[in-house]
Amino acid sequence: MTALRRALQLRSARISLGLLVLVLLVGIFGGWLAPQDPLAQNTAAILQGPGSGQWLGTDYLGRDVLSRLIDGTGRSVFGALEAVGVAMLLGIPAGLASVVFGRVFEWVTLRFVDSLMTLPFIIFAVAVAGILGNGPNQAMLTIGVLLSALFYRITRAATLGLTSAQYVEMAELLGASKNWVIRVHVWNKVLPTIAVTTANCLAAALLAVSSLTFLGIGVQPPVSTWGGMLASDLNFLSQRPWAPVIPSLMIILTVAACNALADAIRDTTGVSPTARTGITGPAAGAGSAQGIGPAQGIGPAQAGPAQGASAR
């Protein structure tokens, strides 16, 4: 958590964190904050512009847009959190273990992770939702499993850089157990890197969740989500051409806040996997939009000794 504290000295990090906390609060208390019932239809006042009574107007069924936006925040944000949580739980221990548990485990997990990365996120999530039923959890867990590949690679790359450090070798020579070395020497150094990845992954997961809800995956129609609002606005562009602006802004701002926070942690701690191993991997920039696996996760891991010809 020192990483976060140090990052908060930057103004961009404070603003982003403030925004994220605000979004989270709206997400938790959305039901109470909404000025009107987000599901109540009013056929007398459909597709209204912003004005008295409704701040952001009404949609094609006369539902209050502001209330739907507030109500949908929770579904969008917690979906992303669920996915990232699953990704961390699966990816981080496996990444640490791949360095410790020897060649066979390493080879098997690497190939498995490679396989996960070849699966196109959105299509796979659609397929899983199609096969296992279109609930919110199926889609998010799938995104989580696929994102875990990123955590695996980042953790692995950071750990690989550390295990060859002289003080770790020294500790091993002095008879320290593997567990002890990981707990004392590796874990604290890997943590900031994981924090950066988590923030980037959160951005990626948010984009994935809004994309999926836009496609109608993981939601049942009457309830609102940011992506779902965009999809329904799309059919009434000639009446309300500015309607997609607000949900889009919500998505973009939240994603940008996550990425800015990641950048701030990276800049203030200086412990990025690329900096550690001294290898310049591709694109150490902000998380990517389609999200789906920021490129910087892949570069440093590729430089790991066990992988030669992989393009990834």
Binding site: R111, F112, D114, S115, L116, M117, T118, L119, P120, F121, I122, I123, F124, V126, A127, G130, I131, L132, G133, N134, A203, S210, S211, F214, L215, G216, I217, L230, L234, L237, S238, P241, P244, S248, I251, I252, V255, A256, N259, T280, P282, A283, G285, A286, G287, S288, A289, Q290, G291, I292, G293, A295, I298, G299, Q302, G308, A309, S310, A311, R312
Partner: protein, 345 residues
Amino acid sequence: MVALLEPAVPLAGPAEAVARPVALQWAVRFGTGLGRALAIVVPVGLVSTFVTFALGSFSNSNPAAAVLGDLATPADIARMNHQFGLDQPLLVQYWQWITAALHGDLGTSWFTTIPVADSIKQTLPVDLSLTALAMLIALLLGGAAGIAAALRPGSRFDRAVTALCAIASTVPAFVIGIGLIIVFSVLLPVLPSGGYVPFTENPVQWLRFLILPALALSLDLTADIARQLRNSLVGTLRENFVTGAEVRGLSRRRVVFRHALRNAAGPTLTVLGVRVPQLIGGAVITETLFNLPGMSKLTLDAAAQQDIPVIQGTLLVAITIVLLANVLVNGMLVRLRPQARRRSG
């Protein structure tokens, strides 16, 4: 070129005598390179296709019950299960499925009974058109922006490119798509907001239908290519061999495009390879947004009906495309970077 400088090649002798070992070395290197690529691609392909296939068995929907309806007796369902091959062990089923797929047979839809391969053959050209066009746009736009920015690092143009790239990477493709529709189809009605015509029927209409979706899909990749190419080219232009080439009086253009770009293109190409799955995933949303009759519509419709053979077939095709793109990028990397060739030899 580089191979000639290596000590393994005889230094003097007639041209043919030199040429044969070089060609042989080339073949050996290419073979080992391909072998290495296959050693990675084949297990990856097997695992990801098995995951795809195994998903079907986790499903609680029974095709026999779904197809036959409420009136089916247990005997009917058992007969149907036998007909679909669902009463066999999972690995046997997988083996049958994958070998049939290699022969171009992906089974038939449970609901429409149309062969899955036929549906995919119909819809795949849409996806290929869209992603190829998006990739072309990204390479041209991103390449030009990246090179221009790298030639004058720190200039106003360079900073503008960096800022635009940062913005582009936070805006999801479908938001950009909606923006493009609003601007070019609703406010200034110059381009259609949805639909598709095959290239062979009317190339101009084809482009008019595809240009907006391809732009929306490409933006993210454009930003990535520009950023990556700028960074690696700035680094390469500082290296000694570039200074050397300039000292020897080669023109700036020749130095940048023949010498530096070749070396700087490697990481950019890697980014391109890494991004292929995302491009295909992004195509799903773009196609829905612009109402294109592509594979994603097939997948979404199949997902709504739990039509498992169709879902599995489309996923298999998507995985194959990704793996092929990876092998291709690997091959190009070996071709592009002499060091990569040396390492694999």
